[in-house]
């Protein structure tokens, strides 16, 4: 049932923006149903809870962590659910009239408020400490959003940030405490941990950390300063979060754990001083505030100190008084905040120096405020009085000890301050008085609030009266939890006779009245005695210092130099790996062989020599070609090692890399830039040697360090039986380790996309270029000088004489490549075009063969895709970018996407077929002509890989080839000094007629001069 309630809150919260956009602020009335349902549910369970068998719900969630969705409703939870649900519903009703119809962000506000109510509901009912933490932090986050509701105001943003930093820090401390406690107890179930407190040295630490969480959340000194700042939140939020619900979470935590832990020394050492200090400090500060909300905020701080003190004492009577106070405080403080909202809305100010005559203009509000104030300062016959009497009685009982006496004195002092600021509040809000504010402020005008606005506060104030007037009600309802504390039972009564407590009450009232009467003197004294350093300033200085330290650390670690970063990473590699190799027990160089075959040495020498020469090369092209030679030598080493698949792939990749390099190098300077930092070369060399030697040592030592049989010993059998293939490497890729391959082709997709986005500056989603798109003939690659033009022209003229007619008559196809005519004439080569025309389709067929045979012989999707890539490169080189579009008239994104989709889809098919993800299924059947066919589903995975690789190469060609060509031509056109020779064809000229298709294509095409 509780889970259902939480789901209801979640759904209502999610639906809130929609509701608000439909109904406007009236939607808050609908939203109020969610917390109201929780309160009503708790009321229906009252009997069971009082009998001690409230509902319990446990759903296993993360069994490994011992984390369960455990909920239970006992007396304490019941009380809190009533407060959270009841006050929540009333505050939402209030909001429906409070905000202006034109107010912004109401949808978000309503949603977050309901979500907060849900989180709070979970917090007070869960029986799992980890879940408690989750709800705890949820309330923190929602409270952040609510405090920062007016995100355009600096004060709101700062208050929200302060609240979340303080309470999250406390929450994190609490999490550590929870984990320590849960580990010590062996369970995270709260009821079990409280019933049987674990022993051990970590338990006191855990308890202190737990209390840090409670102190930060319940705004106890010295972490109290976030609560007054949080008054930047809208008033309904202050009434709900900062009076009735969220700040009570800390009190709840203390009350929850006190029965098991209140006797501990650390518990008392933390809570009693902080509680007393907070109680007095809050009351003292409240006397000086002029903003009504700030008066109440400091009052709340004070009362929270009292509450923590009462429920944290290890005394049954005090706990009963504390629980009663908890309920009474929620009612009167929420009512008072709501009243402030009414006054604020009616007058436009909350400054008590400017308010006058409000009581006469708004009598109902004044009476409601008066009732709530009376409960707060502890006048009979209100709930606040009953609770305070019980508290004094309980504290008097323990006043024999010095600690008990100190607590009693703090309580009396705090209560007197409460009386004083309570009177000051009511006087400030409603009384007639001489306005003392500066003349610049206009006198306030008072508007009449709607009844919906006064109603919720009135309900709470009257409830505070009724709860006290019904005899034994509070005691019967609350004592089940109080009785879990040690000590004598207490009582909640209106009249207990002429007891010492009554005397203290009279003393409190009299002192408070005196302090109020002397309010002017009190204010002036406080102003003179202001402390040089308050907690808020300290917080701000700490945050500033933190920023500075962060900046210093950043300055030290982030030097902004790529070589430095890489060097650091590499030196860490040398230190860690090298250190482990040197110090590891039993590590050493075992048996070695000079070579596997002598040819290996030849290939090795070639590889190393070209690599070293490449590093020394000053010309880019030379370096690239040497790197290519080194790469081919590596592929020879692969082949010699018995890895034909690798050798094949390496050769193909090396070829493509060379071409791609050359494509880009066209545009880069021929030489590497001059490097003035020659000194650093020796450092680089040293680092390079250190890393190289470390890796070499690794290579020598690691093979001998193996203690287990390689996992791959079973691969041959697995590959054949389960994967249905004989090429183990390929089956490994598409079946045994298919997940890896999937990740790797995703990387390819990302790389291809990255390349395209770097080169295509405007957009890359255009259609592939087709030959028919070329607006002029013979322009591609036409920038360079063309010394052969004259010769070519003569040859054409001669041919024309010989034939006696225009070449290329009807039916004669003299165009070998469809995009050939777009190329500048000096760039065309008949031999290359014919060879390309003849080879292209054979190469594609070969690639398809590699793809399908890859399961049983060297090949597979990677190699096949690369072969297709090379075929595309050849078409591009022979016919330019339009020819590339003719060769592959698809967008590379489609290839990449469909490839990945196909691979992933195969995995899903296996699930549908009842297997695990990416499991292969072997289908064998016979076809009339082709004979027996053995189809392995992983073939489709390989087809996906194939498509992704083609997409990658195509994207590279389109970007680094075609698009860079276009940049170059544009650049040459823009540049007046450029070498571009092509001119726009004159009308009626030969060029124009060629462009119009009147003159058949010729190899030389346009004449360039």
């Amino acid at each position: 049932m509780l889970l259902l309630l939480l789901v209801v809150h979640l759904l209502v919260a999610l639906g809130a923006p929609v509701l608000v956009s439909w109904l406007g602020r009236r939607a808050f009335l609908v939203l109020a149903l969610a917390p109201a349902s929780a309160a009503v549910w708790a009321l229906t369970k009252t009997g069971e809870v009082m009998a001690g068998d409230g509902p319990v719900q446990v759903v296993e969630w993360v069994p490994h962590l011992g984390m369960a969705l455990a909920f239970r409703l006992d007396t304490l939870s019941w009380l809190m659910v009533l407060l959270v649900g009841g006050v929540g519903a009333l505050v939402l009703v209030y909001s429906s009239a409070y905000f202006s119809t034109r107010a912004g962000g109401l949808g978000r506000f309503g949603g977050v408020l309901v979500a907060f109510a849900g989180a709070m509901l979970g917090l007070v009912t869960t029986d799992d400490m980890l879940l408690l933490y989750v709800f705890w932090e949820l309330t923190t986050v929602f409270s952040y959003l609510l405090i920062g509701h007016y995100a355009d105001r600096k004060a709101s943003r700062r208050a929200a940030m302060q609240a979340i930093i303080v309470t999250t820090a406390g929450g994190l401390a609490m999490l550590v405490g929870i984990v320590l406690l849960g580990t010590a107890a062996g369970t995270y179930r709260i009821s079990a941990v409280v019933a049987a407190p674990p022993a051990g040295s970590t338990v006191p630490v855990a308890v202190v950390l737990l209390l840090v969480g409670a102190v930060s959340k319940s705004a106890l000194v010295p972490l109290h300063y976030w609560l007054p700042s949080a008054m930047a939140a809208p008033t309904p939020v202050s009434a709900y979060l900062h009076a009735a619900a969220m700040v009570k979470a800390g009190v709840y935590l203390v009350a929850r754990f006190a029965p098991g832990y209140a006797e501990m020394g650390v518990w008392r050492a933390v809570l009693l001083p902080l509680g007393c200090w907070t109680l007095v400090h809050g009351g003292y500060r409240a006397l000086r505030q002029h903003d009504l909300k700030l008066v109440l905020a400091f009052g709340t701080v004070s009362q929270l100190g009292l509450l923590v003190l009462l429920v944290g004492l290890s005394s049954q009577a005090a706990a009963l008084a504390g629980l009663a106070m908890l309920g009474a405080h929620a009612m009167f403080k929420a009512a008072l905040f709501l009243t402030v909202g009414v006054v604020d809305a009616a007058t436009g100010t909350r400054d008590l120096r400017r308010l006058t005559g409000v009581g006469r203009a708004l009598p109902v509000t004044a009476v409601v405020g008066g009732l709530a104030t009376a409960s707060m300062i502890g006048l009979p016959p209100f709930a606040g009085y009953v609770a305070k009497e019980a508290a004094l009685e309980a504290l008097l009982h323990d006043a024999g000890t010095p600690v008990g006496l100190a607590v009693l004195v703090a309580m009396v002092l705090g209560s007197a301050l409460t009386v004083a600021y309570g009177l000051r509040f009511w006087w400030g809000a409603f009384a007639d008085k001489t306005v003392t504010a500066e003349p610049a402020d206009a006198p306030v005008t008072i508007t009449r609030p709607s009844l919906v606005l006064v109603g919720p506060a009135a309900v709470l104030a009257v409830l505070g009266l009724a709860a006290a007037l019904l005899p034994h009600l509070g005691e019967d309802l609350l004592s089940p939890h109080a009785s879990t504390y040690p000590g004598d039972p207490g009582h909640l009564v209106l009249w207990a006779g002429l007891t010492p407590a009554l005397g203290l009450t009279l003393l409190v009232l009299a002192t408070g009245a005196l302090l109020f009467a002397a309010r002017g003197w009190v204010e002036r004294t406080q102003a003179r005695a202001s402390f040089p350093l308050d907690a808020d300033t300290l917080y701000r200085r700490t945050m500033r210092r933190l920023d500075d330290v962060a900046a210093d650390v950043t300055a030290i670690t982030q030097r902004g130099s790529l070589p430095l970063y890489l060097g650091t990473i590499l030196m860490v590699l040398v230190a860690l790996v090298g250190g482990a190799l040197l110090s590891g027990p039993g590590l050493g160089v075992g048996e070695v062989r000079a070579w596997d075959t002598p040819v290996q040495a030849v290939a090795g020498v070639l590889c190393v020599a070209s690599a070293v020469l490449a590093a020394r090369a000053r010309r880019r092209l030379k370096a690239v070609i040497l790197a290519g030679i080194s790469g081919y030598a590596v592929s020879a080493l692969f082949l010699l090692h018995g890895a034909p698949d690798l050798a094949l792939t390496q050769v193909l990749v090396e070829t493509i890399t060379l071409v791609v390099f050359v494509l880009v190098l066209r545009r880069l300077p021929a030489y590497f830039s001059v490097r003035p930092l020659a000194a650093s070369r020796w450092v680089r060399l040293a680092v390079a040697l250190a890393v190289g030697l470390t890796v070499g040592a690794l290579a020598l030592i690691v093979p001998g360090a193996r203690v287990h049989v390689p996992v791959s010993v079973d691969f041959p059998e697995e590959a054949y039986v389960f994967g249905g293939g004989k090429n183990i490497v390929n089956v490994t890729l598409v079946d045994i380790r298919a997940w890896d391959t999937m990740g790797e082709i995703s990387v390819l997709l990302v790389a291809a996309t990255g390349v395209a986005s770097l080169i295509f500056l405007v957009r890359r989603s255009g259609d592939p270029l087709r030959a028919s798109d070329a607006d002029r003939r013979g322009v591609v690659w036409g920038q360079a000088a063309d010394p052969m033009a004259v010769l070519r022209r003569r040859a054409v003229a001669a041919a024309g004489h010989a034939d006696g007619a225009a070449p290329g008559g009807a039916g004669r196809q003299r165009e070998w490549l469809r995009g050939g005519h777009t190329l500048a004439p000096q760039r065309r080569s008949v031999i290359f075009e014919i060879a390309t025309r003849l080879l292209f389709h054979s190469v594609i067929v070969f690639a398809v063969f590699l793809l399908f045979s890859g399961h049983n012989a060297p090949g597979g999707g990677f190699a096949a895709g690369l072969v297709v890539g090379i075929a595309l490169i050849v078409r591009y080189l022979a016919g330019g970018r339009y020819e590339l579009g003719e060769a592959a008239p698809v967008h590379p994104g489609i290839l990449l996407g469909s490839g990945l989709f196909l691979s992933a889809g195969v995995g899903l098919v296996a699930i549908l077929a009842g297997g695990s993800v990416l499991q292969s299924v072997i289908i064998e059947f016979a076809l009339p002509v082709l004979g027996d066919i053995k189809l392995v589903t992983s073939l489709f995975f390989d087809v996906g890989v194939f498509l992704v690789v083609i997409g990658l190469v195509l994207d590279i060609l389109r970007s680094l080839g075609a698009e860079i060509d276009r940049h170059g031509e544009e650049g040459a056109l823009d540049d007046p000094e450029g070498e571009l020779i092509v001119e726009p064809p004159a009308p009626g000229s030969r060029e124009a007629r060629i462009a119009a298709g009147e003159i058949p294509t010729e190899i030389e095409g346009t004449v360039a001069r």
């Binding site: 909350r350 206009a442 130099s561 880009v664 490097r675 060399l685 183990i728 080169i759």
Partner: protein, 177 residues
């Protein structure tokens, strides 16, 4: 089980390729860095083979006896690494080209923002301005300027102008920015 002892020739090639790779990697010219990545990749790919044991026949059933095969697992890993290196090469080349397009060179410059942070830290200046954190106003001043967007109540005294309570007035809505 295959003979695990490493071939010294291969190890030496690995050492040379890695050293050359690292040497180029620490350069500032992006195209040399790229060559470094390629050499480093080749070296590490060979390291995989060394870790897989001695040379053998191609790991293809029916072509090689199972006991003679080279280890297929590192081969599968290296195969994808080779293709990914291609993607990476293309990406870095695109970056080099872009850098050339923008700056007329392909050198990797120091990060200006990082240098600025370092200068400021050295001079002990504030790292940045945070208008939300650096405040001089007090709690009471802040509170006085924050009001909710309330309204829609009728005036108690019809004659009185409702200016201060009007929800749309800028002072109420804007508050302190």
């Amino acid at each position: 089980m295959i003979d695990m002892s490493p071939s010294v020739t291969l190890v030496l090639v690995v050492v040379a390729l890695v050293a050359v790779g690292v040497y180029l990697l620490l350069e500032r010219s992006l195209s040399r860095v790229l060559l470094g990545v390629i050499f480093l990749g080749n070296g590490i790919n060979l390291l995989f083979l060394v870790a897989g044991g001695a040379a053998g026949g191609a790991p293809i059933i029916g072509q090689t006896e199972e006991s003679e095969m080279s280890d297929p697992l590192p081969q599968a890993m290296v195969l994808t690494a080779i293709v990914i290196t291609l993607g990476m090469t293309a990406f870095l080349l695109a970056m080099a080209y872009r850098s050339w397009q923008l700056n007329q060179h392909d050198e990797v410059q120091d990060d200006l923002e990082d240098r600025r942070t370092a200068r400021r830290a050295a001079a002990d200046q504030a790292a940045f301005e945070d208008a939300d954190a650096d405040v001089l106003s007090t709690l009471a001043e802040d509170a006085a300027e924050v009001r909710d967007e309330t309204g829609d109540a009728e005036p108690a005294e019809p004659a009185a102008p409702a200016a201060p309570a009007a929800p749309a007035s800028p002072a109420d809505q804007g508050g302190r920015r």
